[in-house]
Subunit: 320 residues, 2 copies
């Protein structure tokens, strides 16, 4: 398969590396808004200016969108769906419906297929949450993230004027996790997690930036959030990696007297969040390609995709 990669930050680079691991696949081109001379593809693909992307229609089987969810992806995804089959890992939970509609309209109009929010959460976790809720409609279900770097939240902080570097960490609350294993209650997102931000900025901007972070709807508002301003040196030394972790814990009771406890858990432990996200996006990119060949159009989420479509027909059967 021939892929395009639109955006070349951590995720774009991870996609590039993941595609170059496969002998049958190639990255036809990387697209960037920066000066293409200053961007080097890790897999050796040509680097082209983002504004010329439409010229590559017909040369790329599936476009992989790797720009940030906070403001770039809502603009880039509909544009790209006008010329390409598309996968993204759009991660703003509260706006996934709107994103699917906007991209879906354009994809249908131009005869393309897109799978959106195909990362780990939303993405794999969405699939597992749906299955766990279906199996245990009266169960106690809790998703925990962290400790790890949230790319979406870090990127959201970096969009604030005056922020030079930023990393946002999500941490599970240990008491909330025990409560989940006991099946005691389904807790709210803000009860389950705390957030930590490490930011490099000019000192006169600290107060304003701190306020803007804590007030950011969907990302930080309502969470116990601590904001730490640190030096560039400390930032580069201590916050260069992108590990993450997450778990989904579902507990329910069965039996005539509800005497039996049934537990389902799904968990991830990731050394590199962007490299894992890239692996999930490539899995769904193969589904996009199969759906396109079968004549499908429009935008879908991982919830719409039969697991079988992620693999070749014969391979899936061996996992039944």
């Amino acid at each position: 398969m021939k892929f395009g990669i639109f955006g070349y930050g951590n995720l774009g680079r991870a996609l590039d590396l993941a595609v170059s691991e496969s002998r049958e696949d190639e990255v036809r081109a990387v697209f960037t808004r920066r000066d293409p001379q200053e961007v080097k593809s890790a897999g050796g693909a040509p680097v082209c200016p983002a504004e010329l992307v439409e010229e590559y229609a017909g040369e790329i089987d599936v476009m992989l969108l790797a720009t940030g969810s906070a403001s770039d992806a809502p603009r880039d995804a509909p544009r790209l769906a006008g010329s390409f089959h598309l996968v993204d890992s759009y991660d703003c939970h509260a706006k996934t419906g709107e994103h699917l509609r906007t991209v879906g309209d354009e994809a249908k109009r131009t005869g393309h297929v897109a799978i959106l929010s195909a990362g780990w959460d939303p993405g794999l976790f969405s699939v597992f949450r749906t299955l766990f809720h279906a199996v245990a409609p009266r169960g106690c279900h809790n998703t925990f993230w962290g400790r790890g770097v949230s790319q979406g939240h870090s990127e959201a902080v970096r969009r604030i004027p005056g922020v030079r570097y930023a990393k946002a960490y999500t941490l599970p609350d240990p008491v909330a996790k025990l409560s989940a294993y006991r099946g005691a209650a389904t807790l709210s997102d803000t009860e389950r997690h705390t957030r930590e931000c490490y930011i490099v900025a000019d000192e006169e901007d600290y107060a304003r930036i701190g306020e803007e972070v804590r007030a950011m709807p969907h990302y930080f508002a309502g969470y116990r959030t601590s904001v730490h301003f640190i030096s560039e040196e400390e930032f580069l030394r201590e916050h260069g990696k992108n590990p993450h972790a997450g778990s989904l814990i579902s507990v329910f009771r069965t039996g005539k007297y509800r005497e039996n406890r049934e537990e389902m858990t799904f968990s991830l432990t990731l050394d590199s969040n962007p490299e894992f996200t890239a692996a999930v996006m490539l899995a769904y990119a193969r589904a996009v390609w199969r759906m396109a060949r079968d004549g499908a159009v429009g935008a879908y989420s991982p919830l719409d995709i039969p697991p079988r479509l992620l693999l070749s027909a014969g391979e899936a059967d061996t996992y039944l």
Copy 2:
């Protein structure tokens, strides 16, 4: 929804209890090959002779098949698919393809929908194995079962002439499990597990039964299997419960120098295997009903089902 339950052993009873937990659903009738006078529905449903099941066509939305996989289900499922929409948890991995084809032919001929092998493995585990393999095509993937009672294997032993009671346990090999977390190798089923059978029979049959168990293809042949003949008293005292457990462990490497380790795990810890299986079957029964209303026909496995179909449209979106 109105359900029928065909077969009334551990699984049939668990389905009956699970349906009766819901206010909107009911068990229209339970069907048994035993004397209906001797079978009492845990949820208070009418108990009818199995040979009259076709008379209930039109009164039952989805039939839940709860007879054993070793020999009953391959005969019962195609028959029932001729008159009903159907869900089963057929668990003989090596024969799922054949089962899908046989039931599918009859379901297509008569305009019904069936979802087959919708238990925990095959079933939920099949879905997760497919997702994990798609995300990590070069990863190291291992499924472990146990320690717990395998219903399919127990039932297979009970079909051997002379066996009065039987429970078959599956145990994960602890060294193999460590190897899975290290991402060292994808091990074969027989390397990952051992099996233990506890059987009540007449002493003169011990040798023959032991041989028949160990030689049974797909179930015991090739496994390290221990067979223990015990008294009826010990059996009833020690082997009355049906706990089970299982985990799917996938590890893969990412990064330019394969320097990053990514781990996905899914695990179940079940006090009651049949009650959990019943919960999975009911989840897929709702999908069957939605598919039937949308005009689908034929037999499907959980790999063919978009997760969204397990829930009402609005509910699924909240888990994205």
